[in-house]
Amino acid sequence: MRKYAKNINLILGSLILFVFLGMMVVSFFYTPYDVNSMDIPNKLQEPSSKHIFGTDEFGRDIFSRILKGSQTAFIVGALTVTIGVFFGVLIGGIAGYVGGWIDEIFMRFMDALMAFPGIILALMLVAVFGPGIINTSIALGIIAIPSIARVTRSGFVQQKEAEYVTASKLIGVQSYKIMFKHILPNISSQIIVAASIAFAIAMLAEAALSYLGLGVQPPDPSWGRMLKDAQAYLIASPWYTYAPGGAITLLVLGLYLLSNAIRDMMDPRSNS
């Protein structure tokens, strides 16, 4: 326990993540003000005891919208990671375990996907399939596949030579069982780290896409879109940018800290 207590990354990272997760859960039942109700006379107010983060250009409570926006962030993040991990593990696992020309084909395809700047590819996909939470997540999920596939592949390449795999082959265990029942649990920590980084990248990318007007569509609150809207009032009411910008930064920071901490904890060299 003492070893974990020393780990500042773990404490800070999980603290931040839990605060945001808590915010998201609360936002399903309660927000201080209605998220979409406008109050034009009270627009662009400074933070006060009534509106702790102030109000936006339509007089909506920014704090409520940040709370609600965390739902979007987590939904996009979770969906992206689900898609990325599912296909990434499948592709990387098959490439690493089977090897040979299948490995070459799969991984060169992943390289090609990786060669695109992520945001450009996401823009392209969203332009084709239309904006919205689901489409954004699918686009970001596709972008997340190569990095997870690479991590998975290297893990499989390493593990498939282990003698416990040979022992299972000798018994006649089917390849898919060896891959997913025997090898996968042994590289889960690497995949968890890759997935938590993908989660952070997905949130950033969602904010960026929404900022460009292609992600989540109004009136659904999204931190990226809020940041974009705030840009127009940067001189007159700078505090408008603080809340969404801070939320994005903090959550991404928390996720990175946590993924670092998980990596350190799972690393056998640092463990024993």
Binding site: A162, Y164, T166, A167, S168, I171, G172, V173, N186
Partner: protein
């Protein structure tokens, strides 16, 4: 030998691996890990395979189990040709053959409980119910000298010797006839080695197992084997019953190996055979006898022709021209006498 029923027959087995030659595009060499090996394994015996690292002894074991595809030759197990069989058809016969691995830390899945590890082969190949399987697993773990409590633990909670026992329990799970033990004790402390070896001997008596025991350790081989085959660079240079091999080694390489065992008694004078140089690369093995570059008795003939395994007496076969020469001389003498 109690009975001379052949369980496994290997003839002219070759396992070659292609290797890329750096800086020479298009040129490929072959690594001859197992180079034309023939041997018989009789029911109930232990055949020790001894040789230095790189001599191809592990590859031989793996090729027999078809974990590595043979390049050429035959593997006949209980009268069945295995060399051409694939997946399912192969598995039926392979269930009769299991392996014990060298590395007790790598051979057990670190994320699986012992119970699951031992249960897996039973689940795959029998129709036992869950409670029957459980009973069998408990029986197995007790057979190898561990308690039932061990079943709920993970591999990292055990010592090397205990893990090796678990590996043995897994190998025994579906009642194999042949066990290929690939350096099963070389990773263990000497005190633990003898425990594991004696366990293997006890189990052999109880389940009428046949062992192919691979090791580089001559004293381990002496302890466990009935017959011993000495490998050098992918070939068997001498195969003999344990007693005659250790008492009267014939091949110069075997002599050199045995003379390298340290002795406690200094008064006992021994013939020491020095060998110089390194094991040649199996990628480009020497023409003729693989050992001729290091052999103190090398003749001109050894550089050109490869000696084949020949029976010298009813207990010993050796691949060396020294003995063929003798035989020939005797033959010519006897033929002259006849004339």
């Amino acid at each position: 030998m109690p009975n001379k029923e052949v369980l496994l027959k290997v003839s002219n087995l070759k396992t070659y691996f292609p290797v890329k030659v750096p800086f020479r595009i298009g040129k490929r060499s072959v690594l001859k890990a197992v180079d034309d090996i023939s041997l018989n394994l009789y029911k109930g015996e232990t055949l020790g395979i001894v040789g230095e690292s790189g001599s191809g002894k592990s590859t031989l074991g793996r090729t027999i189990l078809k974990l590595v595809e043979p390049t050429d030759g035959e593997i006949i197990f209980e009268g069945q040709h295995l060399e051409k069989l694939k997946s399912k058809a192969l598995q039926v016969h392979r269930n009769q053959m299991q392996m014990i691995f060298q590395d007790p830390f790598g051979s057990l899945n670190p994320r699986m409980r012992i119970e699951k590890i031992i249960e897996e082969p039973i689940k795959m190949h029998t129709t036992l119910t869950k409670s029957e399987r459980k009973k069998r697993v408990v029986e197995l773990i007790e057979k190898v000298g561990l308690s039932e409590e061990a079943l709920k633990k993970l591999p990292h909670e055990f010592s090397g010797g205990q893990r090796q026992r678990i590996g043995i329990a897994r190998a025994l799970a579906i009642n194999p006839k042949l066990i290929i033990a690939d350096e099963p004790v070389s990773a263990l402390d000497v005190s633990i080695q003898s425990q594991v070896l004696n366990l293997l001997l006890d189990l052999q008596d109880e389940f009428e197992l046949t062992y192919l025991f691979i090791s580089h350790d001559l004293s381990v081989i002496k302890h466990i084997s009935d017959r011993v085959a000495v490998m050098y660079l992918g070939r068997i240079v001498e195969i003999a019953t344990k007693d005659s091999l250790y008492a009267n080694p014939l091949h110069p390489y075997t002599k050199a190996l045995l003379s390298a065992i340290p002795v406690v008694n200094f008064d006992q004078k021994r013939e020491e055979i020095p060998i110089t140089g390194e094991l040649p690369s199996p990628v480009d093995p020497p023409v003729g006898c693989a050992f001729h570059q290091r052999c103190p008795f090398a003749m001109e003939k050894c550089k050109q022709n490869r000696p084949l395994l020949k029976e010298v007496n009813d207990q010993q076969q050796v691949a060396c021209f020294l003995y063929e020469e003798k035989e020939k001389k005797e033959n010519t003498v006897s033929s002259m006498v006849q004339v």
